[in-house]
Each structure stands twice: as C-alpha cells, then as structure tokens.
C-alpha cells in the first residue's frame, strides 16, 4: 500500500518531468536566449511534484496512527479494552499486526476483536492521506509550471536542491555517530540508575544471572570482562599478529620482487576477507580441540575446550593482513634516501631494516597496531564461538575466558526482559567498548596523519 502510494508519487514526478521539458523546449525553440536548459525545468518541476508529496506523506505517517488509534478506541469493540496504558498499547499493536496479516496470532483476545475496526480506520485515513498527497503534488507541480519561463533560473534552483541533498548525505555520518552515542548513553544511563558506575568499572565479580534485588552492585563487576578482552584481543592476538604481520610487510616491501608481491599480497588479503563467523567456527572446531589435546599431552589437568589461547590465536591470524598493510604503508612512507644512506655505508639489508627503516616507520606502525587492537577488542564472533562464558581473572591462556563482546551477545540474545538491569548492562558494556575503541582510533588516525606529513 505504502509502496504503491510512493510509487505513484514518483510516477507523477516523472510525468511532470516530461511535461515540463516539452514545454520548455517549445519555449526554447521560440527564443534565442533562455536562462536554463529545458532539462533543468524538467527537474525543477519534478522536484516540486515529488517533494511536497513526500513531505505530506512523512507528516501523515506521524499524525495518522494516533488518530486511527483514537477512532478504534472510540468504536464499540474499542471501548471494551483495558485502560491500562501498557496493555492498551500492546493490544493496539497486536491489532495492527492482525490488520496487516490475518494469520498473525495475538497474545490478547481483544486484539482480534478490534482488528476489523482497525483495518477500516486505517483504510479510511490511508485514503485521506493519499488524497492529501495528490493535492500537494498537484499544488507543487502547478507552482513550478508557472515558472517554466525564459527568465526563470531553473538550473540554479535545481543545483541548490542538489547541494542540499549532498549536505544531508554527509550529515548522516554525524547523525549515525550521535545515534550511537545517544542510544548507548541513554540505555547505559538507565543501567547506572541501578548499578553504581564505580562498582561496574572496578568490581571483580560478574554474574548478571544472579543479579536480583539489592546485590546488583556485587554482581555487575566488569573487570573480569575487561581483562578477558585485553588478554585475548590486545595480548594473545597481538603476540601472533604483530610479528607475523610486520615480517610479512617487511618481506613484501623489501625482499619480494614485483611479481611475487603482486601474487602474495592479494592472497594474504584473503585472510582479511574471511568472515569472522568462519574464523569462529574454525577456532571452535579445529584450533581449540587441538590446543586442548596439546595441553593435555603436555600434562595440563583437564584443559577446557574453550580457551583464551584458541580465540586469541585465531583472532591474531585474522588481524595479520591488517597489521601487514598498515606496516606496509608506514614503511613505504619512509623516503628511499634513508635506506640508501644506510646501504651505502655497507649495512646489510636486514641491518638497514632493523636499525633505520623500522625505527623511522615506528609511529606509523604503532598507530597501525593501535587500530589492530581496536579491531581485536571489538571482535565478536570468534570469542562467542571459542572463548567461553566464564568471567575469570586469570593469567592462564588455556582457561576459558569471557570478553565484553561475548557478554553483550549473551545478555541481548535469548529470553530477554526489556529494561532489566541485565539487558541494560549490555549497553553499558557497549558504551565502554565504544569509548575505548574511539580513543584508540582517534589517537591512531592522528599519529598516522602526522607521520605522513613528516615525510611529505
């Protein structure tokens, strides 16, 4: 229904486009000078048809539902339903569901009784909305029609509309950022009404399942999650990714000839393109049991299948191409003269790399590692599938360990009661994760920028 109406609006716009162009062409033929080409008059008119229609549609889709609800509630069946606002809202929403799809099964009986009046009211007000849209489109089109004249600066107007669209598109990025911050802060704020931020950020015990009544503060201590996240993402994964990524970059930039580089680099990048859920499955299916058996054969007592080591290792491999390409960029930014200076003194290539190139590229490499850490600690699927649920402060990589992202998933999937401290705590964890990665990203991007400028 909605789609049809919108399509109709665009169809009207298209008709307007051709009509306006035809008229402008006639004018054009009659005169030598005209401010704008006919096609701009076409766009100008089309915009004046579509935009008012869309505005009316947007307004109507906000205004109409409350009116529809009012009408339904005033109907004979509607007067029967409970006055409690929460129940009333739930019933109305179910009725909307049934109205849209008769096979929908509601929880409340009343919702099926008001489904018929609901459908009728929706149809009536839908029709009114459609008529209003049509009027707006005609009014807009009529106005623009009067403007199809030789002097009218249609191009300027259309271009102004284009600029506004461009601006709006780029503001979407800010809107997204604000949306993230807003929703995280809002929901986390609800959580922090019940749980003190200090207890959350410094508490050592994490057991949201036990959290009932007054002992909330005691069960929402997130430090074990922070530790698990750091241990897996910033320590184990980096122990794998930094040396391997760095050495790959060194080999690719300094030793491999052009042909080898052309093959090896994209192949290495396949590693970065594999979805994390595949890594997670591989970690759980192959790597974790392998590590467990290895640990057992080395004499570990009851090693667990899920281990920080398995998750961290696989995450590290996933990050290798990222570290490698950041290091690649950093090394490439060091002027060749620097390496030449060293080689010309009789340093070997590896001495030059270790003592001159890498130190010179260090800021860029460090920034790359920071971005890699930010990726690793925000990585979800690998830890969900391989790290485990146990919130534990341990230094033993063979133990199962949980992370911030794992807990967010755990808390928000399955049976969730909305607005319980349990679900809200996921947003608090998300807020911490967002802030930490944001800081890492901002610092790293700054460093990279400065570093590039230094060798410009």
């Amino acid at each position: 229904m909605t789609a049809a109406v919108l399509l109709a609006a665009f169809a009207l716009g298209a008709i307007g486009w051709f009509v306006a162009r035809a008229r402008a062409r006639l004018l054009y033929a009659g005169r030598e000078s005209m401010h704008s080409m006919p096609v701009y008059h076409a766009w100008h008119l089309a915009l004046w048809v579509v935009l008012p229609a869309l505005v009316v549609w947007g307004l109507w889709s906000v205004i109409a539902p409350p009116i529809v609800d009012g009408v339904v509630l005033a109907s004979p069946a509607g007067t029967q339903i409970p006055t409690d606002p929460v129940q009333r809202a739930a019933i109305l929403s179910e009725a909307r569901g049934i109205a849209a799809d008769p096979s929908f099964i509601g929880f409340y009986d009343q919702s099926s009784t008001i489904a018929a009046p609901m459908r009728a009211a929706q149809a009536r007000f839908g029709l009114i909305g459609t008529v209003l849209m049509a009027l707006a489109a005609l009014a807009g089109g009529g106005y623009a029609w009067t403007r199809v004249t030789g002097r009218f600066p249609a191009r300027t107007r259309v271009e102004r509309a284009v600029m506004l669209t461009l601006l709006a598109a780029s503001l979407l990025a800010i809107l997204t950022t604000l949306g993230i911050i807003g929703s995280l802060v809002f929901e986390a704020g609800l959580f922090f009404r019940d749980v003190s931020p200090i207890a959350f950020l410094t508490g050592l015990h994490w057991a949201p399942a036990n959290a009932v009544g007054d002992d909330l503060n005691a069960n929402f201590g997130a430090v074990p999650l922070f530790w698990g996240t750091i241990f897996i993402g910033a320590i184990i994964a980096m122990i794998v990714a930094i040396p391997l990524g760095l050495m790959s970059a060194v080999y690719l930039t300094q030793y491999a000839d052009r042909r080898a580089r052309k093959v090896l680099k994209p192949v290495l990048e396949i590693l970065a393109g594999i979805p994390t859920v595949v890594y997670g499955y591989f970690a759980a299916l192959t790597v974790a049991p392998f590590i467990r058996d290895l640990a057992a054969s080395l004499g570990a007592q009851n090693p667990s299948t899920e281990s920080a080591l398995a998750a961290g290792l696989v995450m590290g491999v996933m990050i290798i191409p990222f570290v490698s390409s950041m290091a690649d960029d950093a090394i490439a930014a060091v002027p060749r003269a620097m390496a030449d200076g060293s080689l010309a003194m009789g340093a070997t290539k590896s001495e030059t790399i270790k003592k001159v190139l890498l130190p010179a590229a260090l800021p860029g490499i460090v920034a790359g590692v920071m971005l890699a850490v930010s990726r690793a600690i925000g990585e979800t699927m690998i830890v969900v599938m391989a790290a485990g649920a146990a919130a534990r402060l341990s230094l033993n990589p063979l133990e199962s360990m949980t992370t911030v992202t794992y807990q967010i998933v755990q808390l928000l999937t399955g049976d969730q009661e909305f607005n319980s401290p349990k679900t809200l705590s996921a947003f608090a964890l998300g807020l911490v994760l967002f802030v930490v990665t944001l800081i890492l990203n901002i610092i790293a991007l700054r460093v990279v920028k400065r570093f590039r400028e230094a060798y410009e």
């Binding site: 950022t177 995280l184 809002f186 499955y281 591989f282 001495e351 928000l412």
Partner: protein, 294 residues
C-alpha cells in the same frame, strides 16, 4: 687501510652478518608462508567437511531441525534481501557524501566533525552498530525484529563510511585539470561533478562499494543484536518478514549438537566464501581494468 677489511676477524664478522641477513629474509618469507598455511588448512578443513553436503537439496532447502533436511536457500535469500536494502541505502548516501566532502565542503569545524565521524565509524566495532540498530530501529521506531529491513538498515550505516572513504579517494584521483577544463567551457560546478568527475571516479567507487558489501555480507555480530537468529523454516518473501542470513545460519548450525550439522555448517561456509571470493574478485578485476594513471 684495506687491511681492516682483509683480516680474518673481519671476514668472519661479515660472513656472520650475511648469515643473519639470510636468516632475516627467511623469517620474512616464513611469516607469509605460515599465514598462508593457516589459510590453506582452514580452507582444506571446510572443503573436506562440507563438500559432501553440497547438493541441490542443500542449496534449495531452508533451515530444519533435521540436519539432512536442512538447506541454505532460506538464509541465502535473507542475505540477498538484506544486501539489497544495504546497497540501496548506503550506495547513494555514501557517494553523495563523498562528493560533498571532496568537491564542495568548505573547510570549517563542522566539516572536520563530519570527517572525524566518518573515519571513526569505519573503525567502530560492528557489534556497536548492532546495539544502535536494536535501540533505534527496533526499540524506538518499532520496526520488525529479525527482518531484512532492519538488518539492511543497520548494515547500511556500517557500510556507508567505507563507501564514503573509498569514494573520496576515487574522486581525489581524478586530476584537477579535468575540472578546470570543464569549468572553462562554462559548466557549473555541479555539472562538472556529475558529468565529468563522477563517471571517471565510478570504477573506484564501485570497487570500494563491492568491498564494503562483501564485508556486510559476512557480518554476523550486529545482526545477532537485532535478533536475526530466529529459526526460519520458510524463506522470507519480503523485507519485513523474519529472516536469517548466511553467516547467521552458519553460527546457528555451529551450535547444534547433531554431527550432521558439521557438514551443513562447512557447506554453508563454502557457499558464503564462494560469494565473497566472487565479489572480491570482481572488485580486483574492476580495479585492474579501470586503473588509470593520469
């Protein structure tokens, strides 16, 4: 003088240094080989476990509680619908934003904020976008849980910065001389961009878009947040129906106890990887084909 370089101590020292040089080079090659070995093992295990399960019934079926009856079509269709929503939203928005930032934006604090915002969004963990989708699209706007519409919206927000960044780079690569030339024959700045700059930048933009879409196609975590983990036995018929997506299907099957699902999981992974490889291959092809050096 040249005696310094002739004495046996120095000769030994140089031999030692040359040996260290060879070791270092071998280490570099070793690092690459090790990484590629890991990739090879991963692919080998998935192929070994999954190839047997790749038949027509699997490709055309939907999820089922019985491993041998379960198929991947429902999830694939969900992925397709989700990707369509993502593409339809993120591509125009991303390209328009890139045009604005690269061609028209004044240098001021606002625009700086937009840039910082975009660069950061490209590095924000994907699960955060899931939280945003949950809080805004589902809890606030009351859109349908588990639907390709919400999934696509969420992934679009995630993909847009990628498209903006690659779009800007592609636009930046168009030489200024083309703009001056077009301005010189009397085109307006908007005409210059849409008639001259954009067509030249398009291959680069498309490459970036495909790469961003491939990332979105493999994404699981944000979709977990908005509940696209429902057991869906019939393929979605529209973007508002509950649905699953390929990576989510992999995740759900990986949790099943029944051994039969190991084959299904691996087979679904093969399907997903084939799509991703095809997309990345297309991106590389486009890049090579249209790579122009001005």
């Amino acid at each position: 003088m040249s005696n310094t370089w002739k004495n046996p101590d120095m000769a030994r020292r140089i031999a030692r240094r040359n040996a260290a040089e060879r070791r270092f080079k071998a280490l570099g090659l070793g690092a690459i080989v090790l990484s590629l070995l890991f990739l090879a093992v991963l692919l080998f295990i998935m192929l070994k476990n999954g190839l047997g399960g790749l038949d027509w019934a699997f490709l055309s079926g939907s999820d089922a509680t019985d491993a041998s009856a379960a198929g991947v079509w429902g999830a694939a269709k969900g992925s397709f619908l989700t990707m369509v929503v993502t593409l339809v939203l993120s591509f125009p928005m991303g390209v328009l934003a890139a045009i604005y930032l690269e061609e028209f934006a004044p240098r001021n604090r606002w625009v700086d904020w937009v840039e910082v915002s975009i660069n950061n969004l490209a590095a924000v963990p994907s699960i955060i976008f899931g939280l945003l989708g949950l809080a805004v699209f589902i809890n606030t706007l009351g859109m349908a849980r588990s639907s390709p519409l919400v999934g696509g919206l969420t992934l679009a927000l995630m993909t847009m910065p990628v498209i903006v960044i690659s779009g800007r780079n592609a636009i930046k690569a168009v030489p200024p001389s083309i703009r001056t030339a077009a301005l010189g024959v009397g085109a307006s700045p908007v005409q210059v961009v849409f008639h001259h700059v954009l067509p030249l930048a398009l291959p680069g933009i498309l490459t970036g878009t495909i790469i961003g879409m491939a990332r979105a196609l493999g994404e699981t975590a944000p979709l977990l947040m908005i509940g696209m983990r429902a057991f869906v036995a019939t393929p979605a018929s529209g973007i508002n129906d509950p649905s699953s997506v390929l990576p989510m299907q992999i995740f759900l099957w990986s949790d099943e106890i029944d051994r039969g699902f190991v084959q299904n999981t691996s087979a679904a992974i093969i399907v997903l990887l084939v799509f991703l490889l095809a997309m990345n291959g297309l991106a590389i092809y486009l890049r090579n084909k249209f790579e122009t050096r001005w």
